[in-house]
Symmetry: C2
Amino acid sequence: MSNPSLLILPGDGIGPEVMAEVRKIISWFGDKRGLEFDVSEDLVGGAAYDAHGTPLTDETMEKAQEVDAVLLGAVGGPKYDNLDFSVKPERGLLRLRKEMDLYSNLRPAQCFDALADFSSLKKDIVAGLDIMIIRELTSGIYFGEPRGIIKEGNERVGINTQRYTESEIARVARSAFELARKRGNKVCSMEKANVMESGILWRDVVQEVHDAEYPDVELSHMYADAGAMQLVRAPKQFDVIVTDNLFGDLLSDAAAMLTGSLGMLPSASLGAPMANGRPKALYEPVHGSAPDIAGQAKANPCACILSFAMALRYSFDQGEEATRLEKAVEAVLADGVRTADLMQADGVDPATTSQMGDAVIAKL
Amino acid sequence: MSNPSLLILPGDGIGPEVMAEVRKIISWFGDKRGLEFDVSEDLVGGAAYDAHGTPLTDETMEKAQEVDAVLLGAVGGPKYDNLDFSVKPERGLLRLRKEMDLYSNLRPAQCFDALADFSSLKKDIVAGLDIMIIRELTSGIYFGEPRGIIKEGNERVGINTQRYTESEIARVARSAFELARKRGNKVCSMEKANVMESGILWRDVVQEVHDAEYPDVELSHMYADAGAMQLVRAPKQFDVIVTDNLFGDLLSDAAAMLTGSLGMLPSASLGAPMANGRPKALYEPVHGSAPDIAGQAKANPCACILSFAMALRYSFDQGEEATRLEKAVEAVLADGVRTADLMQADGVDPATTSQMGDAVIAKL
Ligand SMILES: CC(C)[C@H](C(=O)O)[C@@H](O)C(=O)O
Ligand SMILES: CC(C)[C@H](C(=O)O)[C@@H](O)C(=O)O
């Protein structure tokens, strides 16, 4: 049997730096645990635009469709701010999500014990926090038609369309209920059903899927604005949150920031099972390309490393190895090793990106 | 000259209770400061639905168009959850906003010194916080067409449309720049221009209005997801935030919760000047109808009282009287008077709604 295949797309900014550490980790699993991967690498985002005039070539898109999992660093940067919408770095990422049909985006917001002090929230509010936000990732206002800027009389008019079909909602709801069963068995669905018809359909379909297939899971509904409030007020009330693409974008970022350690948070974007039974999958850190610190060896590779841990769990059925890697990261934090983003006081020298990666390997 | 006119719409849940305290305050200003108002009262939301089968009658709508300012309590409640979309309590409020063309929604997020401990955030992150969120209130996905739930083949499809014209963006941008000039002179505009064309137009128009009319104001742009993060991480970096209807809904609620005292936060919704020079205006607390505590004399009337203070300032050019009222509320807090929502420890008996109102009057 051939090795499972990984396509690595480091992207822009700190993407390549953090991905270099992940490659070390991948090699370690090959050398020490007999988990070999066929790794290939390619361009995405601004890097792809610079080389090919497009943020994702058709060839790269094809490769992404063929591999067992894609690992992505980050895309974007001020250099590309004035590019035409259709070739912005983000379009590369959005094309991957859409064409691979990665409808279920798992965004854990987890507060690491060693880092609880680092949150802007009071320690008792966030210590031990462990919530999972499931964001719909291939539909909604990100992709709905019609869209664009048109001219009406003398005026420009900007238009986007939120559009959700019943089956789009049902499949992401299912993935939330499945996940909840392996965790705290509680799902809170968020929309604006008091204002938007697409929110009414969202609420109804989530409830129907629940009643027909997952009556054992505790389900509640909350308006997204109240959800934003409750995340700030008492985030530990949540277990799994399921919401649409746009609300998920804001709410998962707010939730990530609650933990105080954005540089620690991974994500998985999953689609339907392929012929080999594995889901289509893309893994990426929640943080962005951080152009302000790129090239300075300051970036925290942990979010990207933990994204690979999610790959081990969700794509390769290696839950135990994933846990091993996660525990290694926690142990490094417990030892007080910190990249610059995790430091509050001056005095100590922060670890560089590669020192952090090496520390994780030492713990493995 | 006749007295300025006020239409009071107490609405549902705790709305009538908090509004009763505001009426005491209004009387005080008439008796002691010679500020007489012609006050009328009417129904909105579930209360209007119960009486008339609609959350806002045409007669009430007409009255709202004629008065100098509307004061609203809150709308909604579980009793109305299963009503048809078109007669839900919220539609009454949305009709008022839309037909009065109240495009500029001012939502201060202010942390009261006496309450800084009450936030879920660390004290140094929120103490002294004073930001103003300007939310566009009459357009965007709340009102765009087409909308609805349609049938496509066997499937239901939920549709809403985000739609912004250049002039809709320009006028709310102007109101943000005007306000910034009276405050810290800084505006941060938030959208998702990396994903939505309507966000590109938003960003461009805000920049154009700035460059042509307000070059003295410091302007920055931020993606709304990053904005949600930064509000949690370091909210004091902001002075005025301007954003669209939907983002404003979530971001202003998150910002409100940062202060830890939702029961304290007022809002103003302003439109174009009327013949008498006053803007069309509606004032309402940020909190909702809180059906769980309705009828128990537990509600905090301060948000509604401070909404009346905003009316004094923005509709009646009584900035000094507004400040007098705001200072009275602060003094009451400094004395340790607390409604139940502002109490952390047991032991002390909380003030009732009317005790809180009376305490404010005593300070005036
Ligand atoms: C980069 C951008 C297109 C993306 C999004 O808006 O989805 C990012 O914010 C995210 O959350 O993954
Ligand atoms: C009650 C509801 C329609 C309203 C909104 O979504 O605008 C509320 O959340 C608000 O923020 O004023």
